[in-house]
Amino acid sequence: APLAELSGDQDFQLFLHKNLEFTRKIKGDVAALQRVVCDTFQLCKEEELLLVQQDLRITQVALEQCHRPGFQAEACFSQIRDGLHAYHSSLAAVLELLPSHAGLVETLQLDAANLSSNIQQQMEDLGLATVTFPAEDRGPLPAFSSRFQHQVGGFLILANFQRFLETAYRALRHLAR
């Protein structure tokens, strides 16, 4: 049954409530890292980096299936799961940038991976079409041509990840009772 019809299902609601809380936790940890980047590198405002951002061409993870109108729950879930997987890898660049906060970044990677597999598990439990991801999709670490680009890259990854989580959170809340 399409996901939307299952909104009344108790297990599905429990899944939604749990992972809404999980998403809030992850958003809080991303915000904490954004404060570290601001304090450490004085990179705090995205509007000051629009020009150099074009150099880096850090693309956002699109969640168009999660936006209204045309909200498509199953496709949205797949996009959230894939996006979490992508950010799990991208955060490696942040890990390199903030060695003294490795614990927080690694926790973030673990949380992103857990949330992604929670969604994958729920889709499988509901018998939805699933694309299974290779467990470790570690592309080559991005090579920055300067420390400044690396710092800006880290800042933008976290900013994009925060926006991604905000959209994912609204989608989950839309389905939750």
Partner: protein, 308 residues
């Protein structure tokens, strides 16, 4: 006098065989000591007189020919009641007694089934600490590990208790937060294995919340019998939907008044019906709104004396 032992794997001058080096306590132990005179320099031709010692006690074996120039002594200990012992084979040689073979025997029980397994998730480092009752001592070297599996990953060792303790902590990287996990204890020794019941849980449902903090207490407004408390949850549960309780009482009064169903993150709560000019103690605790998991400890008490 050097022990006449031959290096390398070829059978030496003598060797001791036992049925099993580890036996259930109280069961029988059989052993044989074979002495190959031809390979024992100085023993050629003569019959080797074999004798046995269990640690420091002489025990009697029955000696016979093992064919060729091999003498064999067989020994049966009907009821082996030591948890650990050395079984020595001696041979008389040039008027002296020589140690020529050894078997180390242990006795005990198969591991008991671990029970009362319970776990708590620490929200500062997200380590899952599990405790259990080990059951009767098996008296044998027993390896105990905590196993865990998730719906998406096969069973792995979550942690290994140190120094014979009955608790250990599964690190965050092996946990599936907000997902279903199975956790159990596996014990094994030479005589067998045993597993505890399997605990099916979401680590978050056994989170040990840190208590909220009572920030301030004020009378509201001066002439009523109410007070307003300002409180905040611990940072580690800032992202959670919580269900909190408040209790208060005058110091000398043994009974607490309980205010339940306080929902929300941080804010204020109001208590009315208080006596005037009376010192009160206030405490608060929370747990997750989904009514799963444990209450936090009560917060540090805060006192406030109501106005006259």
């Amino acid at each position: 006098l050097l022990l006449l032992l031959r290096l390398g794997g070829t059978l030496g001058c003598a060797s001791v065989e036992v049925g099993s080096p580890v036996v259930p306590l109280g069961s029988a132990v059989t052993a044989s000591c074979s002495v190959r005179s031809r390979l024992c320099r100085g023993l050629q031709g003569g019959r080797a007189r074999i004798s046995w010692m269990l640690d420091n006690e002489t025990v009697a074996g029955s000696q016979g020919c093992g064919g060729g120039d091999t003498e064999v002594s067989n020994l049966t200990l009907p009821q082996f009641n030591r948890t650990q012992a050395k079984l020595w084979c001696w041979v008389e040689w040039n008027g002296t007694k020589q140690r020529v073979g050894l078997a180390e025997i242990r006795a005990g029980y198969p591991p008991a089934k671990p029970s009362n397994l319970s776990c708590l998730l620490n929200l500062s480092d997200y380590g899952l600490t599990c405790r259990w009752q080990p059951g009767a001592d098996s008296l044998l070297p027993t390896s105990v590990v905590l196993k865990c599996s998730t719906s998406r990953a096969p069973a792995v060792t979550g942690c290994t208790p140190q120094g014979g303790r009955s608790h250990c902590t599964v690190p965050r990287r092996l946990l599936q937060l907000y997902g279903q996990m199975e956790i159990w204890v596996a014990a094994s020794n030479a005589l067998g294995t045993a597993e505890s019941e399997r605990l099916r849980l979401d680590p978050m449902d056994v989170a040990q919340l840190e208590p909220p903090a009572l920030r301030s207490i004020q009378s509201v407004p001066p002439q009523t019998d109410c007070v307003t408390l300002a409180w905040a949850v611990a940072p580690s549960s800032a992202h959670m939907e919580l269900w909190c309780e408040l209790r208060y009482r005058p110091p000398e009064d043994p009974n607490w008044v309980l205010v339940t169903g306080i929902v929300g993150q941080a804010g204020t709560a109001q208590c009315c019906g208080l006596l005037f000019g009376t010192p009160y103690l206030f405490q608060m605790r929370c747990r997750r709104h989904s009514a799963r998991g444990h209450w936090s400890e009560w917060s540090a008490a805060r006192n406030h004396t109501t106005h006259e």
